[in-house]
Structures are given as C-alpha cells and as structure tokens.
C-alpha cells in the first residue's frame, strides 16, 4: 500500500504539509486559508529545531518555512530538512525581502519564496506554483 502511494504521481496524490513559523497567528492563518485540497497539514513548529524534530518523526512532502525564528533560523533548517529528505518542497514565507536572503534560501535548498505580509490568494498561488514546479 505504501509503495503504491509512493508510485502515484505528484500531480494527483495527497501531500503532507508542515508549517514552521514562530508566530502562532501566522501558523493558524496558513492552516486556515489553505485552499489546496490535496495538501494536508501534518505538523506545525515554532522554530527550526522543533521543525527538524517533527520532520524526523514524520517527513512532510511540502514545508512552509519562516526565516527569523529563535533557536534555529529557517535558512539553517532548510538545509537540515533537505539533508533528511532531498525531494522535500520548501516555500520560504518571510518578511526578509532583500534579494540576498532569497538567493541564500534557494541555494540551501528552498524551492520558492513568498514575502510577508501576504494575502490568501498570494499564499495559494505560491503553493500552487511550488507544486507545478515540482511536476516539471
């Protein structure tokens, strides 16, 4: 059964989502406004260290990741998650809007970048683009 699920194409199968942000209201907003049916939230984390712990227990297919967080920031966390599961899709959602930060995050293994503040539509569009990118 598990093998069959693995063989199913990314375009159609259910995907596990982890949300990592030190703001509770942002975590809840992402969860609440998620409009993509096949994304299912399996875990949330308030810093990079907790995200790595949760990811080791149950790896997600898709991760939304803040950058500025206590204990372990999002850039370091991205690198660790990619080390555990190289094909994980990571969308950075951060207020840090300089190009250098975006480039650094992408270099470490992130797949997309959404700048805070964001609307519900921008969140959906960014996640859909992330999933489309993974299918090509």
């Amino acid at each position: 059964m598990a093998a069959a699920a693995q063989a199913e194409p990314l375009a159609t199968r259910k995907l596990k989502l982890m949300i990592c942000d030190d703001s509770n209201i942002i975590r809840r907003k992402i969860e609440r406004e998620l409009k993509i049916d096949r994304l299912q939230v399996i875990s949330t984390a308030s810093n990079g260290r907790l995200a790595v712990e949760a990811f080791r227990k149950e790896p997600a297919d898709v991760v939304t990741m803040d950058i500025t967080m206590p204990e372990m920031d999002g850039i370091e966390c991205v690198e660790k998650l990619v080390g555990i599961k190289p094909d994980v899709l990571i969308l950075i959602i951060s207020a840090l809007s300089d190009k250098a930060t975006a480039i650094e995050a992408l270099k470490r293994g992130a797949n997309g970048f959404l700048c805070k503040p964001f609307t519900d539509k921008q969140l959906t569009d960014a996640l859909e683009e992330l999933l489309r990118g993974a299918q090509t």
Binding site: S23, N24, I25, A95, L96, S97, P117
Partner: protein
Amino acid sequence: MMTKVELETFVEGTTHYFETAANQPASVGSPYLVNEGKPTVQEFTGLISIAGKRRGIVYFTASRPMLTVMLMRMGETELTQENMCDLVGEVANTISGNARRDFGKDFMISVPQVVAGDPEKVQTPDNTRSFVIPINWRSHSAQLVVCLE
C-alpha cells in the same frame, strides 16, 4: 540620524502591512521627531533590535481594542492575550524585515521581543532620537517608532 528617504521605507512598509495583512488600509501620517521625553508606548509593544549596518530599535505599539479588531479582520477567532502579543511582534518583524529591501541584508533584525502592560520596559537608546510614524486605522491609533543611529 535617519534620512527622509529611509523613513519613507518604514512609512511604505506600514502602509503595505495594513493593506495586505489587516485587509483595510490605514492612514499613515508623516513621521515626526520626538523632541522631549520618551516616545509613546501603548498596552502592547513588539520590539525589534537592529544590528549590523545600522543599530537601534524599531517598535510597533498598539492598544488592546485595535489589536482585537486587527485579529478579527485577519480571520483569527482566538482573541487572546497571547495572540495580541504575537501580533505586535509580527507587525514589527514584518515592517522591519521588509525594510531590508532598501537597507540590504546587513540591516540585521532580531526576533521580536514583546512588552505587554509595562511601558517602562520599552527602552530606546539614550544617544539616539526617535521618529514616530502615526498610524490611524478605523477608529484606533497606533505608532511605529524608529530609533536608529
């Protein structure tokens, strides 16, 4: 001392925040320099320490009624003290982080520190004057205070 162009970065960031996150534009006034005493501190304050290319603090301060309405406008149903603390920190963090578009990556921001109900704990550097950016949103007023060397 900050330049007019630098202050404009924070005015634009504040305007953008309310339009996008709070789903309703705010009237953001012209920044003014605090000549005497300390800048305004309301019931909830989110502070960001700035290091690197510039040093100082940026804080957003607002009342409980304003934060309650902001949370509601954002679709949040848990109108708790914790979420109000979270919100002031997130506003300060977002506006400061957005400022890196103009200031660059060496404008290093801390994680938010939140002060609730104790204005004496909000300290600005002694040797640097603060600018206040007044924010009027619905019937409420808040302030973004920028104090950078």
